[in-house]
């Protein structure tokens, strides 16, 4: 791992009181600016001296970005709401309990008190080759050190890799994709709303980013429509240390069950690909089917079609198949 040093490189710190003010600073500094949310990922980058922004824009003083509000069945969560805020919100708990489950399994209580929902879904990959500051593909170079014959790639991707095999580590991201959430993004050029499924991008599209956020963008809020409110949810996270760890793989599913038949379902996994993977083929295979063990088996088998494990992460294939199977089976419970 990278050596964390005591001193960070110097930067200009901005603590704007409004989104407009923050956007002005970001527009001024462009790619040299860094948006700071809870700081849990950012400070590591700075102390490792791998990321050296000229300006850091701390969103902590913008109260409007912390709000969680409901309107017409939709719940809108400010991107700066902490994971603890999300977990304790009654509307989220009553309608979208899968997000609460996912947030509760992220990191530790201390981190959930400080870490934000926006930071959790926007965090960078944990690939140690990348985070060590080497010129790998994701860092703008031309080698994936995690995909060499002797690489340590137990935690890396089995799906969706393209040159880079790093995975997205977020726990709340698959839950939001399963809920068909929308990301509200603001920049100096205006506001745009991106479906959660399209918010995350893989290395085939852009190898240096994990989301569609570009310099100058701020993720201001996350809207969860009522489409899947109070349906049957399943979330499970597999990790090495139960007390506090990033996922080896996690699974989120939202299902509409009527009379023992799966009317509709969304199944999303993270930790197995560079982005939260939605298993559309598996969903299509079991939509309209009776909810039973055979259906769950079918979903698991379809989900792992096309996987491409590396030297040391073949176990993730079995893990993924079982998580998908359990997510379908568990939707009945």
């Amino acid at each position: 791992m990278a050596v964390i040093r005591d001193k960070m490189p110097a930067f200009q710190l901005f603590q704007p009181a409004s989104t407009g003010e923050a956007l002005g600073v970001l527009d001024q500094y462009g790619a040299d600016a860094w948006v700071l949310a809870g700081g849990l990922d950012s400070w590591d980058w700075f102390k490792d001296r791998v990321k050296k922004p000229a300006a850091v824009v701390d969103l902590g003083a913008i109260d409007s970005l912390r709000e969680i509000r409901s309107f017409g069945g939709t719940v809108e969560i400010g991107a700066m709401a902490t994971l603890r805020d999300v977990i304790r919100n009654e509307d989220v708990m009553s309608q979208f309990s899968i997000l609460v489950e996912a947030a509760e399994l992220a990191a530790s209580p201390q981190i959930r008190n400080q870490g934000t929902i926006g930071g959790n879904i926007g965090q960078d990959t944990r690939c140690w080759y990348y985070r060590d500051g080497w010129s790998c593909y994701r860092a703008g170079g031309n080698i994936c050190y995690a995909d060499t014959p002797t690489a340590m790639n137990r935690e890396h991707a089995i799906l969706g890799a393209s040159r880079c095999v790093a995975v997205n580590p977020s726990d709340t991201a698959p839950a939001l994709v399963a809920l068909d959430a929308e990301m509200v993004i603001e920049s100096a050029g205006g506001r745009r709303v991106v479906p959660a499924q399209d918010f995350f991008i893989g290395p085939a599209i852009d190898i240096t980013r994990m989301t569609v956020l570009e310099p100058g963008d701020i993720l201001t809020s996350i809207r969860i429509p009522s489409t899947w409110a109070s349906q049957r949810f399943y979330f499970e996270k597999s990790r090495d240390r139960a007390v506090w760890d990033f996922p080896l793989a996690n699974i989120a599913s939202a299902a509409k069950i009527n009379g023992g038949v799966i009317e509709d379902i969304r199944i999303v996994a993270n930790g197995v690909a560079p982005y939260p993977v939605r298993f559309v083929a598996a969903e299509n295979a079991i939509r309209g089917q009776e909810l039973n063990e055979q259906t769950a088996e079918l979903a698991g088998d379809v989900a792992i079609r096309g996987v491409n494990p590396l030297a040391h992460n073949g176990y993730k294939v079995t893990l993924l198949r079982n998580l998908v199977k359990r997510s379908v089976r568990g939707a009945e419970a």
Binding site: G140, G141, I143, D147, T148, T150, I205, D206
Partner: protein, 288 residues
């Protein structure tokens, strides 16, 4: 402006990664400037030159020249257009993501690269054994002729200047540049296939050392950015009204007798009623 991008390897050494993408923009604008300059040159200088020109006439060799002369065989034309299509796909997939148009480009890129490679191999065999191999290469007589034309452009009296053989010097220069840039991108591209996942070769990043990979990517990038300039200028000349007859010949295969006699010296590009392909080895051009 930077020429190259540098990075750090696991041993903390500074290594070459690739060319700087500043060169992409440099190549693009160099192409635009060249086109603008040539437009000016064609508008101001060429008419004067045409009046002063005293290119050698056909010397009464027009007898026996067929009504239409095949300039490019069907096989040669198919090669040209397949190469052009794959090259355009390579440029779009290679450079659009760099200028901000994001899409899943890699698979399309390497498949187009494989198509280009196959077409080039075919071209080398075809040109070596079935066409007049030397007709496109720059020969000493081309240089002497170029010097003569240059002097004439500068207003000197150089006497009669011969018309062109099948390919004038500018075509030969262009072919040489394309060949060098093409071999650079194809050679390095084939090696780079070992650094990406594909069904043709097993991925192995250890095939080369970090700095050697960097050299491969840099050479690939240099050839590729040069192709931006070459493609821009090629398209420009292809659509110029005074060159459109050449473009048509690359589509339909032939030129008519008037075009042939106006631009070529029958003694240097010998065609006859019996010839099916003027550049065929069975009918080599006469050497002066």
């Amino acid at each position: 402006m930077e020429l190259f991008q540098w990075g750090t390897n696991p041993w903390g050494q500074e290594i070459l990664i690739r060319v700087s993408w500043d060169l992409l923009y440099l190549s693009f604008w160099a192409g635009i400037v060249f086109i603008a300059f040539h437009l000016l040159y064609a508008a101001v200088w060429l008419p004067k030159l045409a009046r002063a020109a005293n290119d050698g006439d056909s010397g009464g060799v027009s007898t026996g020249v067929p009504e239409t002369i095949e300039r490019h065989t069907l096989a040669a034309r198919l090669f040209h257009w397949i190469m052009a299509a794959s090259m355009l796909v390579l440029l779009v997939t290679g450079f659009f993501p760099i200028i901000g148009v994001q899409f899943a480009w890699l698979t399309i890129h390497w498949i187009a690269g494989v198509v280009l490679t196959i077409s080039i191999i075919y071209h080398i065999v075809h040109a070596s054994f079935y066409l007049d191999f030397w007709s496109i290469w720059i020969l000493p007589e081309d240089m002497a002729e170029a010097v003569k034309r240059m002097k004439r452009q500068l207003g000197q009296d150089v006497g009669e200047v011969q018309k062109h053989a099948k390919y004038p010097l500018d075509h030969k220069l262009y072919h040489t540049a394309v060949m060098l840039a093409g071999l650079a991108v194809i050679g390095t591209g084939l090696v780079m296939m070992f650094n990406i996942e594909n069904p043709l070769v097993s991925q192995n990043a250890y095939l080369l050392a970090d700095e050697t990979w960097g050299l491969m990517y840099a050479l690939h990038g240099l050839g590729a950015v040069l192709f931006v300039l070459l493609t821009l200028t090629h398209i420009y000349f292809a659509v110029r009204p005074d060159k459109i007859w050449l473009t048509k010949s690359m589509i339909f295969g032939s030129v008519d007798r008037e075009q042939y006699l106006a631009h070529h010296d029958p003694n240097r590009w010998n065609v006859s009623e019996s010839s099916s392909d003027a550049s065929d080895l069975s009918n080599p051009p006469a050497k002066n």
